[in-house]
Amino acid sequence: MTMPVIGRTYSRVGHLPFRRLDDETVVLNPSNREVHVLNGTGSRIWELLAIERSVPELVRALETDGRFEVEDEIIAGDVAVFVAELVRKGLVTTPPPRSADGT
């Protein structure tokens, strides 16, 4: 599994249909017909990825929510792993890294 690069930004794939039911989110990937169910925290991350965000930005938003009472490093690690999984499943995308000259 490719770990996400801290500093890179991520956003959810725009055309994927999804539904929030109770505290969970169901996401449907029509290209491979996979159906994914995200728990409460996963649903919140999915919401936050409506716009491009980095992992630190996601962590800060979750802390603001007051969802966790553990150290930042643990949260950041878990969020990073989760985002990597979303990328692997084709639900989240990341823009290519810019080179030194800005292209």
Partner: protein, 454 residues
């Protein structure tokens, strides 16, 4: 080299599956394939009157089945199914179809297809077509076992191996199984969910009973287990399972959105449960375990509200039992028949009828609510090419109506006898059968056709 099979004259079929009506104009069809088609889809066939509103009309030309070597060499470019607002393209190694809408008739897709002359190829093409149009009508085709439980319907979806056919085999009355493979769900006019059978079956290889639908009382996701267990399912998990069981051949985002919206509504409005059963669980035990979960869903009024479905069920009863009895209302046949008389029907072929016979025939309308079951006296029958033209009239009416049998209307039965108060008398025909017909009344349940007979 085997001789090519004789092709029969082109045939029109109007099929109603779930809430979707589709017209098929079949040509270059081998005789044996047409015979299979009529048998397999008969329960869902409507008289192909041009009045009947349809979602699509497609002309299918059959070609000989390719050999395995030829089939392996066929390369299909592009996605198997591509659907837009105005165009549908379907491609597989054994069939190809293109349908479009016209500006003058934007509600109906019209087109053409070629199809390998094999039952499997045609069946798959029809599954694809109905999956597309059922979704667009706000419903869905499911990989599921569908059951009738009294006047309620049960949808039991599951992937291959979950136990759909196993459950179907365990149901004591085979007529309570709507299908062991593909079942349709749709909303009625009051936006309540209903479930109906289809001609698409699995291992049980049956062909369906009728077009009748039932109020959907339970959404039971099947799975195998060591012991019987029925328990509620959280909506997100139910939605995930439901999406996995919808019959869909499309991969566009728009279709996925439609599917997600429909399944979300279904899982929120019909109580989802998981039904886990063992191999030795009987059908009765399964239904008994499910019963507590049905009560909350039973709508107050479960009566069929749709003449088309009920007439199709009458046709199925006549096909199965040959005779039937019911008590219609209406005054068009006075003085011979009065409102409230019991009528004894016998299934009949038109060619075996004579002028003077009182016939019961199905005259479809534009929409299911406008279908009519008519009981009038045949005045004359005239050959008109492949079909016969029938002239009929209510005894109390002046107007003579005419229809082409098998096109505008379908003759289902003739009235062999009638009963009023305690007196029973034969209608024109063989009086010797009267005692048998009268004796059958006690055993025959009366259909709720009262409102629909004209």
């Amino acid at each position: 080299m085997p001789r090519p099979e004789t092709e029969v004259a082109p045939a029109d079929l109007l099929l109603s599956i779930g809430s979707v009506v589709g017209h098929l104009a079949l040509s270059r069809v081998p005789a044996s394939l047409l015979a299979m088609v009529r048998e397999r889809y008969d329960a869902f066939v409507l008289p192909p009157s041009p009045k009947v509103e349809r979602a699509f009309s497609i002309a299918i030309v059959f070609h000989p089945e390719p050999s395995p070597v030829e089939a392996a060499a066929i390369v299909v470019a592009g996605p198997p199914v591509a659907v837009s607002d105005r165009r549908i393209e379907i491609r597989r190694w054994d069939f190809e179809a293109i349908l479009e809408t016209r500006a003058t008739e934007p509600e109906v897709f019209r087109g053409a297809a070629t199809c390998s002359a094999s039952p499997g190829s045609l069946d798959t093409l029809l599954r694809v077509l109905w999956s597309i149009f059922t979704l667009r009508a706000g419903g869905a085709l499911f990989h599921a076992c569908g059951l009738r439980h009294g006047e309620l319907g049960i949808l039991a979806p599951g992937p291959s191996g979950a136990g759909k056919t196993t459950l179907a085999r365990k149901i004591v009355n085979p007529d309570d199984v709507l299908s062991d493979e593909v079942v349709a769900v749709h909303r009625d006019r009051d936006q309540r969910w209903r479930v109906s059978g289809s001609p698409f079956w699995g291992e049980l290889r049956r062909s369906g009973i009728s077009m009748r639908s039932f109020p959907l009382a339970a959404l039971v996701f099947l799975q195998r287990a060591a012991t019987l267990r029925v328990e509620s399912l959280r909506p997100p998990e139910a939605l995930q399972r439901a999406l996995g069981c919808v019959l869909s051949f499309e991969s566009s985002a728009e279709t996925a959105r439609m599917s997600l919206a429909t399944m979300t509504a279904l899982c929120q409005e019909v109580r989802p449960v998981v039904g886990a059963s063992a191999l030795d669980t009987t059908g009765g035990e399964f239904l008994a375990a499910l019963a507590p979960f049905l009560d909350g869903n039973a709508p107050e009024d479960t009566a069929v509200d749709n003449p088309r479905e009920l007439i199709s069920e009458l046709r199925a009863h006549l096909k199965r039992h040959r005779i039937y009895a019911f008590r219609p209302t209406g005054s068009s046949m006075q003085p011979s028949l009065h409102s409230g008389d019991s009528l004894f029907l016998e299934r009949v072929r038109l060619e075996d009828t004579l002028p003077g016979d009182v016939l019961v025939y199905w005259r479809p309308g534009a929409v299911p609510e406008q279908d009519a079951l008519v009981c009038h006296r045949m005045i004359a029958r005239v050959s008109a090419g492949r079909r016969a033209r029938v002239y009929a009239k209510g005894d109390a009416l002046c107007e003579i109506e005419q229809f082409e049998e098998g096109q505008d209307a379908e003759v289902l039965a003739k009235v062999r006898a009638a009963s009023r108060d305690t007196r029973t008398w034969p209608m024109p025909g063989r009086a010797g059968s009267l005692a048998i017909l009268a004796g059958s009344l006690a055993r025959m349940p009366l259909l709720k056709l009262v409102r629909f007979l004209r």
